[in-house]
């Protein structure tokens, strides 16, 4: 399970980020109060997600630089880094929505 979580980490974080932003915006719509505060919460969460992705990528790159002999593990780590980068782009892209004027 750890292998799968590591390999899919970046994409899982993207998914969590997307769902969280959607839930926050829906909650904001239901509450009908200050949308700026909800957006602020979204921005904070986005930052946390980006830090998590950066941490994941950094950790995987460190492991890769140790030249793992296990090809499957190396494959998983490379996939994790690429998935992290893609997830990171996705998170930034979704976060830009929050920066639009309320």
């Amino acid at each position: 399970m750890r292998f799968w979580l590591l390999m899919l980490g970046g994409l899982l974080i993207w998914a969590a980020h997307f769902m969280a932003l959607y839930l926050l915006s829906s909650a904001s719509d239901v509450a009908r109060d200050d949308a700026g505060a909800w957006n602020g919460a979204g921005l904070v969460f986005s930052l946390i997600c980006l830090i998590a992705i950066a941490g994941l990528c950094w950790r995987c790159i460190v492991w890769l630089r140790m030249k793992p002999t296990d090809e499957t593990r190396a494959f998983g780590l490379r996939l994790a880094v690429a998935g992290g980068l893609l997830g990171g782009i996705g998170v930034v892209f979704q976060t830009l929505v929050l920066l639009a004027p309320v």
């Binding site: 292998f3 899919l8 994409l11 899982l12 993207w14 998914a15 997307f18 932003l21 959607y22 915006s25 829906s26 904001s28 719509d29 239901v30 949308a35 957006n39 002999t69 296990d70 090809e71 499957t72 593990r73 190396a74 494959f75 998983g76 490379r78 996939l79 690429a82 998935g83 893609l86 782009i89 996705g90 892209f93 979704q94 830009l96 929505v97 929050l98 639009a100």
Partner: protein
């Protein structure tokens, strides 16, 4: 390589073996895996070589039938104000065209391709649950044909393939046409999910030794992601069809705005399934493209890892785009922006795959054979559809193009380029594997060009008709609006496409020779295991995989595999069996005993389809009888599980000994149950979403839940059920003289506790005065209770089933797999019950 299971990878060095194989070994293997000998056995066959071909054949039959419906529609639209089809007939035909193409052709076709190809590709004898594949196929075929036949009685659904309420509510669709769709889709969902379970466990657990994840064929990756997506997406359509049918049959107002319901709920639930569905269809086809393009170009796929990542990313991001079908519904602007951003983002992984294919073709030497033409043609069409996809992902443009023929053009470019052309490429490419003759190259090229030109002539003008304002789904139009010429051109193109399909059918009839003793061989020079010499048992022996392209990189592989010099060269126990390996490194774990053909799963499938379809015509008694018979057949099928047999370990070649029985998380049955429970959990999660969503629409209509004092009783009984189920398998593991009996009784008690909890909770709500037809709160609360009640009902069947097995001496600590999966199910029922109870009792509190 480090070991995942404790298996010593050094043992692989014993292969290929050098000693001669015993006499009669191959003959025994042939005999054990023999094909049908009597007419009836053609129906009860379970081997993937048969079921896979049946499955692909049935899917293509539905493709042809839905295509005929398309031609009828195009004939009607060729000229303005024609009366070729009546309005109501046209409505039924366009609804059936979409429904049949999406539910009876697209998903089953790619699932069928998986069932047919995966065992050979992975080096397995068969997929781990061949009876489940057979059950899925027969339920789909019988149900699908009956569903299609509704058209001939004027009873076909007529509300469009996405069946939006309130159009499909009883007010505006009073007949049983909509019910045919809602219940008819039910068995297709079951069939698709059964197939997905088979594929996930098959890809993860039945790979040839050494086929680690980095050496997994790209098609198998695609099928794995596809099946996981079905597990996540299909629960949403299961729930939505259930809710709409409950509203139609019993008046529970989920979508009725007057009682606090909201039609938007349907759109959320439907598209949470519906958009991933597009990628569910696309990914296996893309996997097939990534497999056959290297063969066509005779070079390795460029960017294998990136293509895997792209498919994984597509799988994830596709779940974040569902609401881009709802841009015109008045959703909050910020939500629209999220979905617009995600819709554009999903083009990134799709683009990675497209560039990988182009790079592979450029790196190799392209051969313009029929599969190659279909692959390149599909690529061109898909890219064009993708570009208009980015256009409609932009909200202002979508507002203009929504529900116009522009969308019809876009979706056909995506689906035909992304799935139909690759499927034809796959059929031409893999037919020599299943048939003693390849399809005609000469005909194939004619068929390709007719189809390619026909597609573009049909759908290219639709972009213009859409931009000129022609709405989709109209059965006719007025003259002199500028729509006449493009419509006529589209009709001409559609008949070109139809001619291509007709020629293909003729070519199949002329050349397809399945089920023979020989296949046509590796005509296209493919690199995968499926091109090794094989029989009904798949490969003679299961090789150790050292490369992503074993046939290209391991030159003596075919000879050694055929000579039985690898794993499992015979049938060590004289019965059907396959090797189960670990999910990451594919290390041999145990030998799975495979079932023999019988008729129970066929009857089970027929009665399952009967239950849903007879329910539609409101013959409730007959429907219930059919349902009971389906349950009986399935129980009868399950009765044969876990029978003791043979030695505890056997030699699977090279002196490697493997156990013949395993339970718990290593066993294939445990995996299947966990995946089934994920499906169930997803339905429950979507139902909880519906509950919260409807509350957010009309909180003023919600009343206080029952007195909190009754909650501990429900939760206590559920805790007893969960603990009882857990303790029962613990008791069985003790392996003492009475442990089997104690375990069976504990299990029965656990199921009764779950039943008691359900009764307590249902009566508490009933006594609170809330009624399911009164408001959206009542509807969702009782829907959640009904879902839990279904699980409790199944648990109450399982309890006596386990007790009966114990009385017959079939519960034993040496063979606990069946008992463990029952315990897992009952424990899940308890957890699900507790979670939903807490939600409906504590949210939104004591009334708004």
């Amino acid at each position: 390589m480090s070991s995942e299971t404790g298996f010593d990878p050094e043992l692989y060095k014993r292969f290929p073996t050098t000693e001669a194989r015993p006499e009669g070994e191959l003959e025994q293997l042939d005999e054990v895996w023999c094909g049908p000998r009597r007419p009836w056995e053609w129906i009860t066959a379970i081997n993937n070589n048969y079921i896979g071909v049946y499955y692909v054949g049935a899917a293509m039959l539905f493709f042809v039938l839905a295509g005929v419906l398309a031609l009828l529609m195009r004939t009607q639209l060729a000229l303005p104000m024609t009366g070729f089809l009546a309005q109501e007939t046209y409505n039924q035909i366009f609804t059936m065209h979409g429904t049949v193409m999406m539910f009876l052709f697209a998903v089953p076709a790619v699932e069928a391709l998986g069932v047919l190809l995966l065992p050979q590709m992975l080096g397995a004898r068969d997929l781990p649950f061949p009876r489940l594949s057979a059950y899925a196929f027969w339920a789909y075929l019988v149900g699908g044909l009956c569903f299609f036949a509704s058209l001939f009685f004027g009873l076909a659904p007529n509300g469009g393939w996405f069946m939006y309420p309130p159009l499909t509510s009883t007010t505006y669709s009073p007949g049983i046409n909509a019910d045919f769709w809602l219940l008819g889709i039910g068995f297709i969902e079951i069939s698709a999910i059964a197939g997905a379970i088979e594929i996930i466990v098959g890809v993860l657990k039945t790979r040839a030794p050494g086929m680690t994840l980095d050496k997994l064929p790209i098609f198998a990756w695609a099928m794995l992601i596809f099946a996981c997506m079905i597990i996540i997406a299909f629960p949403s359509i299961i729930l939505s069809t259930l809710l709409l049918e409950l509203e139609r049959a019993l008046g529970w107002p989920f979508f009725d705005a007057a009682k606090g319901g909201d039609p938007m709920l349907w759109q959320h639930l439907f598209w949470f399934f519906g958009h991933p569905e597009v990628y569910i269809i696309f990914l296996p086809a893309a996997g097939a493209m990534s497999t056959l393009i290297p063969a066509v170009a005779q070079t390795k796929l460029v960017g294998y890892r990136l293509v895997v990542l792209a498919m994984l990313a597509t799988g994830f991001i596709s779940f974040g785009v569902w609401a881009h079908h709802m841009f015109t519904t008045g959703m909050p602007q910020i939500s629209i922006n999220y979905f617009s951003a995600a819709s554009m983002a999903v083009s990134v992984p799709a683009g990675v795959q497209v560039f990988a294919w182009i790079a592979t073709l450029a790196a190799g030497k392209m051969r313009f054979n029929t599969p190659g033409l279909f692959a390149v043609g599909g690529l061109v069409i898909f890219v064009m559809g993708g570009l208009t996809g980015v256009m409609v992902a932009m909200v202002p443009f979508d507002w203009q193009a929504h529900d116009s023929y522009f969308i019809v053009a876009h979706l056909h470019y995506v689906l035909i380029g992304g799935m139909v052309f690759p499927l034809f490429a796959a059929i031409y490419y893999w037919t020599p594997m299943s048939s003693s003759r390849p399809l005609s190259e000469r005909w194939g090229k004619w068929i390709f060009w007719l189809m390619f030109v026909g597609h573009n002539v049909t759908f290219m003008p639709m972009h213009l008709t859409g931009l000129m304002g022609m709405p989709r789904r109209v059965y006719t139009y007025l003259p002199e609006r500028g729509w006449d010429l493009p419509n006529m051109i589209s009709t001409v193109g559609s008949f070109m496409f139809g001619l291509a399909v007709l020629l293909w059918v003729v070519d199949m009839v002329r050349n397809f020779r399945p089920f023979g003793n020989k296949d046509a061989g590796n005509v296209f020079g493919g690199p995968g295991l499926e091109w090794l010499p094989s029989g009904r048992y798949s490969l003679r022996s299961v090789p150790v995989i050292k490369s992503l392209y074993p046939v290209w990189d391991q030159p003596d592989l075919a000879r050694d595999v055929e000579a039985g010099r690898y794993f499992l060269p015979g049938a060590p126990r004289g019965e059907r069996e396959t090797m189960i390996t670990s999910p990451i490194n594919a290390e041999p774990q145990y030998l799975q005993r495979m079932p023999q053909p019988s008729s129970w799963y066929v009857w089970g499938a027929i009665f399952t389809a009967g239950f849903f379809l007879i329910l539609t015509i409101q013959a409730y008694l007959v429907s219930v009888i059919s349902g009971v018979l389906a349950v009986y057949c399935i129980l009868k099928w399950c009765w044969g599980l876990d029978r003791p047999s043979g030695p505890a370990t056997v030699d699977v070649g090279g002196g490697v000994r493997l156990p013949t029985y395993v339970s718990g998380p290593s066993s294939h049955g445990w995996w299947a149950m966990v995946i089934t429970l994920i499906v169930s959990g997803m339905v429950a999660i979507m139902a909880c979403f519906s509950y919260v969503f409807l509350w957010s629409r009309r909180p003023d209509l919600w009343q206080a839940p029952p007195e909190i004092g009754s909650l501990p009783l429900t939760l206590g009984l559920l805790a007893a059920a969960g603990v009882g189920a857990w303790a029962s398998q613990g008791a069985l593991k003790l392996d003492r003289p009475r442990s089997a009996g104690i375990a069976a009784v504990l299990m029965l008690a656990a199921t009764l506790a779950a039943g008691g909890a359900f009764a307590a909770e249902a009566s508490a709500w009933w006594n609170s005065g809330l009624r399911p037809d009164a408001s959206s709160q009542g509807a969702t609360v009782y829907a959640l209770l009904a879902w839990q009640g279904t699980f409790v009902g199944i648990s109450l069947l399982m309890g006596p089933f386990v007790l009966l097995r114990w009385l017959c001496g079939l519960v034993s600590s040496r063979y606990p797999a069946t008992f463990e999966v029952v315990a897992l199910f009952v424990a899940f029922t308890a957890v699900q019950g507790a979670a939903t109870t807490l939600l409906i009792r504590l949210f939104p509190g004591v009334g708004a």
